[in-house]
């Protein structure tokens, strides 16, 4: 079977493709079908690994030649030693994790840098919808309702910044994206961006 045609690149994927340095070692947590790792391999020559808990996703990854571990993120992370990767990625996965604090701590153990992207729950449109209707908007404007969405956490760019400050995590770089993938200026990003993308690292010492 030939490889299926590449779908349009997800906005946060283009940001990650831009951030990751060529020929680095990359681990993608919740890698799904492996599209990001394949794009990174083809465009940046990286040596990539994935972790996903869904067997269909794992089979799709291996079909694309992407090495992957079938299991939970924390279990998969435990297989790796300290600093084994240049980048560990949580691309639109953080909001689906049960223990985000442990996941972030362990991703910064096995990777020198973490790249975290997530839907920003602080943006105006969502705030207004909640204010007016009193009902939680879905994160992606998608069809999922609160009782069926895989997105079990809701956080804003401001929440994530506060978390990093509290945990002593350095934010090396931050990017803010509009729904179409365009960069949003830093000013009032928490109110204007639909996606936040952060490069983080443990503070030395």
């Amino acid at each position: 079977m030939p490889d299926p045609a590449s779908p349009p690149v997800r906005p946060d994927h283009s940001a990650i493709l831009d951030i990751v340095t060529p020929r680095s070692r990359v681990l993608d947590l919740g890698c799904g079908d492996g599209d990001l790792l394949r794009a990174l391999r083809e465009q940046k020559g990286i040596d990539g690994r994935g972790i996903d808990r869904d067997d269909r996703a794992v089979i799709a990854c291996i079909g694309k030649g992407v090495p992957v571990y079938h299991g939970t993120i924390l279990e998969g992370l435990s297989l790796y030693g300290d600093g084994e990767f240049d980048f560990v990625i949580l691309s639109q996965t953080l909001q689906q994790t049960i223990e985000p604090d442990r996941v972030i701590a362990d991703m910064l153990r096995v990777g020198r840098r973490g790249i975290v992207t997530f839907p920003n729950f602080g943006r105006w449109s969502l705030r207004i919808r909640f204010l007016l209707t009193g009902r939680l908007p879905s994160l992606h404007g998608g069809p999922w309702r609160w009782y069926e969405t895989p997105d079990i956490l809701r956080l804003s760019i401001a929440d994530f910044r506060a978390y990093c400050a509290r945990k002593g995590i350095a934010i090396i770089e931050s990017r803010f994206l509009s729904p179409s993938g365009r960069c949003v200026p830093r000013f009032w990003a928490n109110a204007r961006a639909s996606t936040g993308a952060f490069v983080i690292a443990r503070r030395p010492g």
């Binding site: 794992v58 089979i59 079909g63 030649g65």
Partner: protein, 381 residues
């Protein structure tokens, strides 16, 4: 009629790999000679000799992994679902080799072979053999076939143990490995089932200390061993779906202890067909080789055992396999990862139990196909 997607008519070949002057060194000490290894091949070896895939069989398997020995054969080789044109191990692309194990009874040297010292079958005088012995014999076969490096080595159950052993013993001779539904050391539960099977054989009066050749032999003991084995290869759900509590026709009124349930009939039939094709002493030797396989003990730990490994690996397990449960596969993955080895892992959701790897399994096909394609691409780059 032979199906189109089969490798077609094949025959088992024999390779004499050890003459008295050049015996096969055994893990138990000493050397064995002469040694014959039965094998089959499918597909064509590329001029670069870079498309060879070795298939290793499980306890009751043989070199006959695919195709038919004659047009009237009722059954094809044991892994017909996976080997052939367009299948997981695509014989249009790969040169597939399957060899019998040492100690077997399907053309290779085993306890039923003639002991040159006595002119009679070895019986229990056959030396203990190990997974490592078989892999060393297979290496001689590949040298004979002129294949310096395998693109991949794969097998399920005991075949998976051989895959692990290949990566440990001959790291420079394998580009990749696909161990399926296997373990790096059998659990106490697994050993227990094998022990009951061996006990059934050795307590059969027909066994006669292993010197039964020419007689009927321990037929009922071997059949019982096989029946026990079959229970462990299925799962609760698979058995329920296959047989439920259904009864066989016409047996209800026969006697209080008639084998009235369908599952009883199935096991009886499996046992009966096994005694026609398998040697009881081989069953003893091979199950013992499985039970004793323990590279972690041999090397100090499983992590150390893979220290020289460099093959890329795809580990596959099945969710309902309780004989070789998923956590065994995960231990293998953990040890490989600790050595920085490029290793993928997938647990396939299925109710078919341990035997799932032998059945038609689209997920397994997709995994193997994708993995081999990548390994080939990277080996050529």
């Amino acid at each position: 009629m032979i199906p189109r997607d089969s490798v077609g008519l094949v025959r088992t070949l024999e390779f004499r790999l050890a003459e008295p002057a050049d015996g096969l060194p055994l893990d138990s000490g000493g050397k064995l000679s002469p040694v014959t290894l039965a094998y089959e091949t499918y597909g064509t070896l590329s001029p670069e000799k870079d498309n060879a895939v070795l298939i290793c069989h499980a306890l009751s398997g043989s070199a006959h992994a695919a195709g038919y020995h004659s047009p009237d054969d009722a059954k094809p080789g044991w892994w017909e679902t996976a080997i052939g044109p367009g299948k997981a191990f695509d014989t249009d692309t790969y040169f597939v080799i399957c060899s019998n194990v040492i100690g077997g009874c399907s053309g290779s040297t085993g306890p039923g072979s003639i002991d040159p010292a006595t002119g009679k079958p070895y019986g229990m005088r056959f030396p203990p053999v190990t997974i490592g012995d078989t892999v060393r014999a297979q290496k001689r076969l590949l040298d004979h076939l002129g294949i310096p490096r395998l693109l991949s080595v794969s097998g399920g159950s005991m075949g998976g143990m051989q895959v692990l052993e290949w990566m440990m013993a001959f790291p420079d001779s394998v580009a990749s490995g696909i161990p399926i539904a296997t373990t790096a050391r059998l659990s106490a539960q697994g050993i227990a089932f094998d022990a009951v099977g061996r006990e059934a054989i050795m307590t059969d009066p027909g066994w006669k200390g292993g010197d039964y050749y020419g007689d009927r032999g321990p037929a009922s003991g071997l059949a019982i061993a096989r029946m026990i084995g079959h229970i462990t290869y299925l799962s609760d759900e698979a058995m329920h779906r296959k047989f439920g509590r259904r009864r066989r026709n016409g047996l209800a009124n026969e006697s209080a202890l008639a084998k009235e349930f369908e599952v009883e009939g199935y096991l009886e039939q499996r046992g009966a067909s096994f005694i026609n094709r398998f040697d009881a002493n081989s069953y003893l030797y091979i199950t013992k080789a499985i039970d004793c396989y323990d590279p972690a003990q041999e090397h100090g730990s499983l992590v150390k055992a893979f220290a020289r490994g460099k093959a890329k690996v795809l580990v596959i397990s099945f969710s309902s396999d309780w004989l070789f449960p998923t956590y065994h596969s995960k231990e293998i993955v953990r040890a490989l990862k600790a050595n920085g080895i490029d290793c993928s892992f997938c647990e396939i959701q299925t109710s078919h139990g341990h035997d799932a790897f032998l059945l038609e399994c689209p997920e397994q096909t997709e995994l193997i196909r994708g993995f081999l394609r990548r390994v080939r691409r990277e080996a050529r780059a």
